[in-house]
């Protein structure tokens, strides 16, 4: 998790987090509801975190938790409705902050491999050359860069540069996705389910590649996945999302060994082992996640939580420091803005908040 060499583009210094997100909100209006009132899909609701340089945060959650929307909000591909984004000390999306152009060169995204992640009409080298050319590079230079990138991701440029996406396998396409993200030499790479669509034998290859690149190019990762094992493997810290809110955040090891939020515990217990002797007897969580449209007040997980009480349905829990017997909302964000990486384990659950009226308050 260290910076290999001083990065000339580094403005804020080692202590400055690469990315600070404060109270990000993104709601999508949906049809339905009344004539005058509008229904809203709460895709991202009050999400805050800080990402240190060279660090990897894994964002884990199931479908509908808002992690893909969060990825796009962080890169300013979707405009947030509220909240602040600060990239290496400069505000994003304001007139006096970092320009969009500079942001694009510094922060890029690897998309999930689908048939739509690469333009079927462009050859691989054209796809890779597009970014640099859009920033002013000449075609020859951009193509040379493209060939170098193909090498970097383990594809033979002589063979693959002139191919079209449909000629490549899923794993190869994903390597091209990664190469495309790196074509502008970003410092932060957001990855949205980069290995979910791949065969297991190929998944390992791509994970190896990502780890190798992280080390070689001193990259900072925001890794989004629904696969807990993969997230644990690649992340320093893990953030668990449920229906648009952060329910737990902390060091990867802590989350996996001592998860405090019932949802995280349920997720961890739902993992299948490769051992027929370790079969799961009963599903850890029942039911499906409720709709993110106009969610009811209180804890979003109340409907499925085995420890639910009255307070859970009325008061929305805030992130509190786990193990803090004094209770109250953790100022973990302010703390983490000072420290370059904050391994504080925080949970948004009334059981962890000693000041709440939950019967198990402070004992979680």
């Amino acid at each position: 998790m260290s910076l290999a060499a001083a990065d000339s583009r580094d403005r804020g210094g080692r202590a400055q987090p690469m990315l600070i997100a404060r109270a990000l909100k993104k709601y999508f209006p949906v049809r339905g509801g009344g004539f005058l009132t509008r229904s809203h899909l709460h895709a991202v609701d009050d999400v805050s975190f800080s990402l240190g340089k060279g660090e990897t945060i894994g964002i884990v959650g199931e479908s509908g938790c808002g992690k893909s929307t969060l990825a796009r909000v962080v890169l300013n591909l979707i405009h947030r409705d509220a909240g602040e984004l600060i990239f290496d000390g400069e505000a994003v999306g304001t007139s006096d902050g970092i320009t969009l152009r500079d942001l694009r060169k510094s922060a890029q995204m690897v998309f999930q491999d689908s048939h739509a992640s690469l333009n079927p009409r462009l050859s691989i080298e054209d796809t890779l050359a597009f970014g640099p050319m859009a920033h002013g590079a000449k075609r020859r230079e951009a193509v040379a860069r493209a060939l170098h990138l193909l090498n970097l991701v383990g594809l033979d440029p002589r063979r693959y540069a002139v191919c079209y996406p449909h000629e490549l396998s899923g794993g190869q396409r994903q390597r091209v996705n990664i190469a495309r993200a790196l074509s502008l030499e970003p410092r932060l790479v957001v990855m949205d389910e980069p290995v979910s669509a791949l065969d297991k034998s190929v998944e390992a290859q791509v994970l190896n590649l990502l780890i190798d690149l992280r080390q070689r190019l001193s990259l900072t990762y925001l890794f989004i996945s629904h696969d807990l094992n993969v997230v644990r493997f690649i992340s320093d810290r893990v953030m668990v999302m449920y229906l648009g809110r952060v329910v737990e955040i902390g060091a990867a090891d802590t989350i996996f060994r001592r998860a405090a939020h019932p949802y995280t515990q349920g997720l961890l217990a739902s993992r299948l082992a490769m051992d027929p002797d370790k079969r799961i007897a009963a599903p850890p969580l029942s039911g499906d996640p409720p709709s993110p449209i106009d969610p009811a007040p209180g804890c979003r997980f109340a409907g499925r939580c085995p420890f639910v009480e009255e307070v859970c349905r009325v008061v929305t829990p805030e992130l509190v420091r786990h193990g803090d017997k004094t209770g109250g909302k953790a100022d973990h964000l302010a703390h983490s803005e000072r420290a370059h990486s904050d391994m504080t384990h925080s949970v948004a659950c009334h059981m962890a908040d000693a000041a709440s009226s939950h019967s198990r308050a402070g004992n979680a």
């Binding site: 796009r72 333009n119 597009f130 859009a134 396998s169 502008l184």
Partner: protein, 301 residues
Amino acid sequence: MVDVSLTAALSDIGEHTIAPSRSRGYWATVRCNLRRDPRAVGGGLVLLLLVIGVVGAPLIAPADPYHASILARLKPIGTPGHLLGTDELGRDMLSRLLYGGQSTFLMGVAPVLIAFLIGGTLGLVAGYGGGAINMMIMRAMDVLYAFPSVLLAVALSGALGSGIGNAMLALTLVFIAPIARVAESAATEISHLDFVDAARASGASAVTVVRVHVLGHVLGPVIVYASSLSSLGIVLAAGLSFLGLGVIPPRPDWGLMLSTLRQSIYIQPMIAALPGVLIFLTSISLNMVSDALRDATMVKK
């Protein structure tokens, strides 16, 4: 059942159906498909002959299309000196047909080309822009779209007055809306795909993103649609002239000729049918080429 399971099987096989030789680009594949399609070849050939004849009228036409002769009225096909006979004013049919094609083609095809440019751009902007831009543009198109094309063409032409220019303007306006719709639908579909997001994420300007990534996918359906529209254009153009709203006599034009030769249908039915035959040939060739284009652009990956 056949294609579903084959596709399922092939997707089970995965993306391993690698072509033995280097893959062609999309447009190269389209060209290759067209070359092998008899509709494209046949229709294209007929159109080519028609266009050569029409464009080369000053060189090919045996006589002056305006030269009338009462004595030579309605001579039958095969009369020496008048290969296709003469019309009701004694003018040479062949020459009038060749020259007449010029105005028919102009009135029928030029509006499609102009509408292709204008409507295509509007649809592209609406599709990529989305939201308010989309709403403004497409609702405006809806107003035009609400009228049946023939009715709208006649009404506009009537309001503007007769003459080739006005007829072309009327037809252009009629065609903008449907083309815009096709372009918008294609552009909207493409704009939501991940690779467009990736292109935007690279910091390229909207124009660049559209030019490199979106345009190629939109051109296909729009060209196919425009080519089918041009066959309609020919018929509408002839129709407008038939109604007296297009070409002003004595200028030759297929539709106008149909109208003026109507009374002679009992005397020289073959001659009276000739302009109609040519309209039919043009229209059907354009249709065939359009069908072939539609199949050629559907390159299955």
